[in-house]
Point group: none
Chain length 193, copies 4
Amino acid sequence: MAADPLSPRKQPVQARSRALVEAILVAAARVLEQSGLEGFNTNRVAEAAGVSVGSLYQYFPGKTALLAALVRQDAAAFGEALTQAANQGATLRETAEALIDVMIAHQSERPALARALDFAERDLDLEHEDDTVMLALTQGALARHAAELPGVDFAEAAQDLMVIGRALSDSGIDPASLKRRLLRAVLGYLTGP
Amino acid sequence: MAADPLSPRKQPVQARSRALVEAILVAAARVLEQSGLEGFNTNRVAEAAGVSVGSLYQYFPGKTALLAALVRQDAAAFGEALTQAANQGATLRETAEALIDVMIAHQSERPALARALDFAERDLDLEHEDDTVMLALTQGALARHAAELPGVDFAEAAQDLMVIGRALSDSGIDPASLKRRLLRAVLGYLTGP
Amino acid sequence: MAADPLSPRKQPVQARSRALVEAILVAAARVLEQSGLEGFNTNRVAEAAGVSVGSLYQYFPGKTALLAALVRQDAAAFGEALTQAANQGATLRETAEALIDVMIAHQSERPALARALDFAERDLDLEHEDDTVMLALTQGALARHAAELPGVDFAEAAQDLMVIGRALSDSGIDPASLKRRLLRAVLGYLTGP
Amino acid sequence: MAADPLSPRKQPVQARSRALVEAILVAAARVLEQSGLEGFNTNRVAEAAGVSVGSLYQYFPGKTALLAALVRQDAAAFGEALTQAANQGATLRETAEALIDVMIAHQSERPALARALDFAERDLDLEHEDDTVMLALTQGALARHAAELPGVDFAEAAQDLMVIGRALSDSGIDPASLKRRLLRAVLGYLTGP
DNA sequence: AATGAATGAGGATTCATTCAT
DNA sequence: GATGAATGAATCCTCATTCAT
């Protein structure tokens, strides 16, 4: 009965429905970006999407689910981009650079949105779910350079680097120096003292 | 009129007033810890403090200000503890350990509270304000070991380490391995490749 | 325009239509039984019937009409069963027993449904309409035993007994003793002091 | 935490508060009487009482509780009146008359309200709670005339008579003949065949 | 200064009903 | 006729804030 309040209500099959869901998500992202979690409410999102509240609730069982969908959508896109990057680079440094570039790109595109989504992800305890993919990805990328990383626990390192990467890219640090500093943190962690 | 909504309304001079403010803050922390930002509301806090809402508003211009006071109080306490640690340790490693111990202690004492405060700090954009002290502190600690850190930009490093330290200690990583991993991240960053 | 909101919209002539109406009514009964008046809504009924809401509205002008149809259907079935019983029994007592058996059977079959329908009947002020048949029936049954009932106003008695019978059978009284008690009430009323 | 949704939220101690609660209950009764359970909603009641919704919720945890309070208030008043009557009358018939007079009075004063309250009482499953007193009362009244009632199970009879009495007085029967018919039903039940 | 009752805007969610396809 | 997506008014309830006492 009381279904999962974080999952969408039904899969939009028809083309029109998919467009509607898409419109809602786009509007939701905009509202979240401009007004923060504070100002994020279903009525506002529906209005911004040019849709009735009822329609919103047709596809999302509640405010939380909408937020969760946003988070997941972003995580998925991010994961995809990371996947590309993870397989690039002949050296550890090159791979690190590729991954960092993705992180920075993701974050600098819509900083306020990225921040709010990070926020929401924690709030909804969606971290674990989303991070599994990225963790695996990162771990794989590390494993590819095992030769350069003697004695490193890949699982552990992947987790730490994920946390560090996120935190730094989301910290508001001057974008110009961000890449250099992230690189330092990552390579330092891995090949450090 | 439109006064700073983040600052306390007036300095409580009388002893009784100070006690009242203290009681409110203690209660606020408890409420925040137990119910999260979601359940944090002025009526609840006032009740938990055994005080009337009116009195709460006598000393805090609004909910936000109360939250801000909590954040600042915590930051101050944290800063104090860090100050102690920053001056300890003959070697860089030792100093780093001392600082990390403080971070972990601060975080592990009331994890839920620490998390919510971190949350709130960001939400209220209080980061800059609070971090100034810690930044200076960290920077000083680094400077003390300048010999071991050739070519390091202390200001920059302090900022990065602060971010990294916070993120890792708040990440929910197994407390048992947390210190080791934090140390690795910090020393790696500083003395890395 | 403002048509009677309690009457069905049109007589389903086609076989398929009749089946559809039947399916809706069956589903409606089930929903009402399982979820009460509270949870009784057109969307739910339509879904339970495996029919679109639009179709439901094709045959019933509104929620109320659907409910009314349910009430009437039940009343009709009940009336039919009573008709059988009303003509049985050589003595007053025997006839009373037959009628009471029907009442109890009707009520105990789907108690929750019976209750909700009673509820709805009152809510929609359908009592008068439905009871006409039963009243006539009861009155007839009494008349058959006029010899045993000197000085009794059959119309009045029929109404009173109807009310009493319904109330008692719907009162949640232990089914084991229900018949005896109903009999006592009825015969007491009729042949009393 | 999730306290009893049927009980009031706090006892109004101050005179003003009591007046407010009283005003709310009076308004609630009026709304219920005029608009039925259908149109009974907290906003409407608050408005009718000249009070803000917030104030209503200060004293009643929800719509249901408000309704329950109304039912209980009515039941209490009714019980009180019955208590008076139950001790009157030298003969069974006289006592029965006294009780029936109270029932009729209670019902005929505000018929629509009485009906809706009966309705609500069932809806909220408050029957048992309220009826205990009346049952005991009735049982006592019967016991007082035990000599006239050989072989009668007072507990059972009290329950049956309660049900019968309510049903008849609430049935919309012509008030002029109501008393006579009720008396017949009651005495018939008790002293019948 | 303290109290806490009162306010009411705001926000989540439901569901009867319509109508374009 | 059938469909079911879309609508949005209606309703419940919360909580930041004020103000009379």
